[in-house]
């Protein structure tokens, strides 16, 4: 047999084999099912919450950027806030009052112990705030931007604020409290890794290695009666496939076709994706023509938010209105006088009319200004934020239909962050709002954060300035009356709705995935008691609400 003939036969065999493999791969879809680790017991919860990249480092200092996720369940805040709607739950502070807009008095909870048996006291709270004052690098919530001084009065802690600043309660309340008897001996808390954490929380550190660590129930926890979870296990590496197959009780992840993947993997798998934050177009108001409200309105009217939401989030998220509020979470703040709950419908004629006010007219398929140039701009989003990228592409398509030319810019996340912080963009995609309505509007509108393009800011990226908004925000800070605060929120909505400092597109999602085979009581649309995320402090509340599923006969 000749050599070439030989090769030809082999080649044919290879082609046939490849074709067969392709048929197998495409013809029958293979259903992956979850395969829980048999060594994980019924009283143990497996959580996909902490990612070691690629392995864990032993860092339980809750103030450092790279702390282990679970450190926020070992240390507790004074007030536990539900970021969905801003509800403030008493936590290490059993109650609080605001005698005036410059003073907050928190009563420290009785009968709480550190996990090493020492009593938790008001002195620990005062110590913690002094620690943050001495180490600004640890002050991640920015308590000392609001505080003048902290003092202990019996079982109370009195916070004296720098000015009239009623809403700072939520920021001070979220500060995690650490024990004085341990942290006072630490030479440099800014680089201390706190390898043996002692906290007040529901769990203490169990086994630790660089691939996985576990937490054990703290028998002396102040809400010990409400904790039915004996152990929590957190592995270091998790792919999306692992999330589905490994038998997690709780995960947090955007998953394509959640029903066909997570849902199909186990009959006990459930999920809840509430909205959080408004993903928006952020125009740089210092760049022409975005300094012109008619152009902003024209763009807002050109967009089909249904399609953008559908494209960006695979239909899991709803289009967002132009009030800056996250609905339905913050429904109680919505001004009933704003039409359609703030939703701006796509209306090509109205859009062209708005553009025409600023001299832009449609010539052929191009929207042309008075100078004869087509309206065009670049839209910046971060590479790798795939939902934002899909939203940006949808915006690009829809604006092309009214003759506006949009080019996309996709720097790496750090480059994106640097661009919006420094005003080095024309239009960008960004998030706004979430949780506390005051913080949302303050970050969005306050000229306190205004710096010209070229200087760095971390809020108000669009560089908005309005005396009216500033006055309203100042009045809100000085008001301890909730009714008046709500009126102010109505007026702030009207500003965002009329002035379009940013253009709302759709809601960002919170991707809570649960399995209720072992534990029930997860937050849900019917009972939204806490945001279903498994990082930060939110799990503290969820842990107390979860109940073990009792086998029959037990």
């Amino acid at each position: 047999m000749s050599k070439t003939h030989m090769f030809r036969r082999w080649r044919r065999a290879a082609v046939v084999g490849l074709a067969a493999a392709a048929v197998v791969l495409s013809g029958c879809s293979i259903q992956i099912s979850s395969q829980p680790d048999p060594s994980i017991g019924d009283n143990t919860m497996l959580i996909n919450a902490d990612k070691g990249n690629p392995f864990f480092t032993r860092n339980f200092n809750p103030y450092l950027t790279n702390t282990r996720t679970a450190s926020r369940w070992i240390y507790e805040p004074l007030i536990l806030i539900n970021p969905l709607d801003g509800t403030q739950n008493p936590w290490l502070a059993s109650e609080w009052s605001q005698p005036d807009a410059r003073t907050i008095v928190m009563t420290i909870r009785d009968g709480v112990e550190w996990s090493d048996g020492e009593d938790f006291t008001a002195e620990d709270v005062a110590f913690t705030f002094d620690l943050l004052k001495d180490n600004p690098a640890l002050d991640i919530k920015g308590a000392w931007q609001h505080l003048d001084g902290v003092e202990v009065k019996g079982g109370d802690v009195v916070f004296r604020l720098k000015g009239e600043d009623a809403p700072s309660l939520s920021i001070l309340g979220q500060t995690m409290i650490v024990p004085e008897h341990i942290w006072s001996d630490v030479a440099d808390p800014g680089t201390w890794r706190n390898e043996e954490p002692v906290g007040t929380g529901p769990f203490v550190l169990g086994n630790y290695n660089d691939q996985q660590y576990s937490m054990d129930r703290n028998p002396d926890y102040w809400q010990s009666d409400s904790i039915e979870i004996e152990h929590v296990v957190l592995p270091a590496t998790n792919s999306q496939l692992d999330t589905v197959t490994r038998g997690y009780d709780w995960a947090y992840s955007f998953i394509s076709d959640v029903e066909g993947t997570w849902g199909a993997a186990s009959p006990h798998n459930d999920w809840w994706f509430p909205p959080a934050g408004v993903i928006s177009l952020v125009p740089n108001l210092e760049v022409a023509p975005f300094d012109d409200v008619n152009v902003r309105r024209g763009i807002a009217l050109s967009l089909d938010r249904e399609e953008i939401a559908e494209t960006a989030s695979e239909g899991y998220m709803q289009p967002a209105g132009q009030t800056g509020l996250v609905l339905p979470n913050q429904e109680e703040y919505l001004d009933p006088e704003i039409p359609d709950g703030g939703m701006i419908a796509q209306d090509a004629d109205a859009a062209l009319a708005a553009f025409a006010e600023s001299g832009y007219t449609l010539q052929g398929d191009r929207l042309v200004g008075a100078d004869g140039e087509q309206l065009e701009f670049s839209l910046t989003t971060a590479n790798g934020f795939s939902d934002w990228t899909r939203a940006a592409q949808a915006v690009q398509r829809q604006l092309a239909a009214v003759g506006v030319k949009v080019t996309l810019k996709l720097p790496q996340p750090a480059g994106y962050q640097s661009a919006i912080s420094n005003g080095d963009f024309e239009m960008a995609i960004g998030g706004m709002g979430n949780g506390d309505v005051y913080q949302a509007y303050n970050g969005l509108l306050s000229s306190e954060f205004y710096v010209p393009s070229g200087e760095t800011t971390s809020n108000n990226f669009q560089r908005y300035r309005s005396e009216e908004a500033d006055a309203l925000l100042a009045e809100y800070r000085a008001t301890v009356d909730p009714a008046r605060q709500k009126e102010i929120v109505h007026e702030l909505q009207a500003i965002v709705y009329d002035d379009l400092p940013v253009i709302g597109l759709y809601y960002g999602g919170i991707w809570g995935l649960f399995n209720d085979a072992k534990f029930t009581g997860w937050p849900s649309e019917e009972d939204p008691y806490m945001i279903p995320q498994n990082y930060d402090s939110a799990p503290l509340m969820i842990f107390t609400r979860l109940e073990r599923v009792k086998e029959e006969g037990q």
Partner: protein
């Protein structure tokens, strides 16, 4: 001796160039380490001013002129002090690297040597028996497998052997339930976790060695001295190994030297797919997090090992092939 000095001089010059590039390249990337950390945080909602200030205070922002920074950096390199990692703050770069390096060296190192030895031997056999099935089968499957992208093979193996058949673990370097230590149980566990990534590297790299060796071998087999050896009635295996293969292996050896130097860099995609805690995965995360100190240490390590491997291959070449010394 002159040859050696020439090579040594070239080595030092390249090393300096590499160190310098290594200093400037990360600084040309847009955004700072604090920006990277903030971008990650802001995916979960707006980040306050205070958070930015705290993160900048934690990570520190490079100060001083570029020139001062460069001089300070050269001093650091000389002391092998790479400072504190940003993404794994406050862990030192040295401790991160020393945790990841053993995994990569053992996994990628062993597999690379294995692939080279097996591939070269198959290549010799294929060339010696060219035209038969012993030639066609390995050559075809080898080239077929090596045309697949690395990560595609990795994903196929992961999916079928890991998720569908449950033969091998799918992630990590060892089971979380075993305690690390020099026990039989732990080593067996490590080995089981290494199977899929090892198989991926082996399958995708084997083809190159087979084909390289086979072609070089076929060329040498056509040389007069081989015909002469055959005419002298020497044993087939002696001709194949001592006369043909020894000369044919030179180009493959160069490739092997370079690959071996690259072992230190790990295999980013394979480590990524299998969540294997080696240098490749670490490097990926360092780049994503704008972790200059970690990136610089890793790039330098990789560059230096490739340079050293290159240098050694040059020396070896000089020994094996007298013509290069002239």
């Amino acid at each position: 001796m002159k040859y050696l000095l020439q090579k040594l001089g070239l080595f030092l010059l390249t090393l300096w160039a590499a160190i310098t590039l290594n200093f400037f390249l990360p600084r040309l990337m847009p955004g700072s380490p604090a920006d990277a950390a903030l971008a990650k945080l802001s995916q979960n909602g707006p980040v306050s001013d205070a958070t930015r200030a705290a993160i900048e205070a934690q990570l520190g922002v490079p100060t001083g002129s570029m020139w001062d920074q460069y001089i300070a950096y050269l001093g650091q390199v000389a002391r092998l002090d790479f400072g504190v990692s940003y993404t794994f703050y406050p862990q030192s770069v040295a401790s991160m690297v020393s945790t990841a390096l053993p995994y990569t060296l053992v996994l990628v190192g062993i597999v690379t040597i294995l692939a080279f030895v097996i591939g070269t031997l198959i290549g010799v056999a294929a060339a010696w028996r060219r035209g038969t099935w012993l030639d066609a089968l390995p050559t075809l499957t080898g080239s077929f497998l090596s045309t697949f992208p690395y990560f595609w093979t990795a994903l196929l193996l992961l999916f079928f052997l890991g998720y569908v058949l449950h033969w091998f673990p799918t992630t990590g370097a060892y089971s979380a339930t075993t305690t690390p230590g020099f026990t039989g149980e732990f080593i067996a566990d490590l080995a089981r976790h290494a199977v899929l990534p090892a198989l991926t590297i082996l399958l995708t790299s084997l083809g190159g060695w087979i084909i390289g060796m086979r072609n070089a071998m076929i060329n040498t087999l056509g040389e007069d001295y081989v015909t002469f050896a055959e005419a002298n009635g020497l044993h087939g295996r002696t001709i194949a190994l001592r006369y043909a293969a020894r000369n044919a292996i030179l180009p493959n050896l160069t490739g092997f030297g370079l690959t071996l130097g690259g072992v230190v860099g790990g295999s980013i995609l394979v480590e990524q797919v299998f969540g294997y805690p080696g240098i490749g995965y670490l490097l990926f995360n360092a780049v994503i997090g704008q972790d200059y100190p970690l990136m610089q240490a890793l790039f330098l390590m990789i560059t230096v090992s490739v340079l050293i491997a290159n240098f050694l291959v040059d020396i070896l070449y000089g020994v094996l092939d007298p013509r290069t010394r002239r």
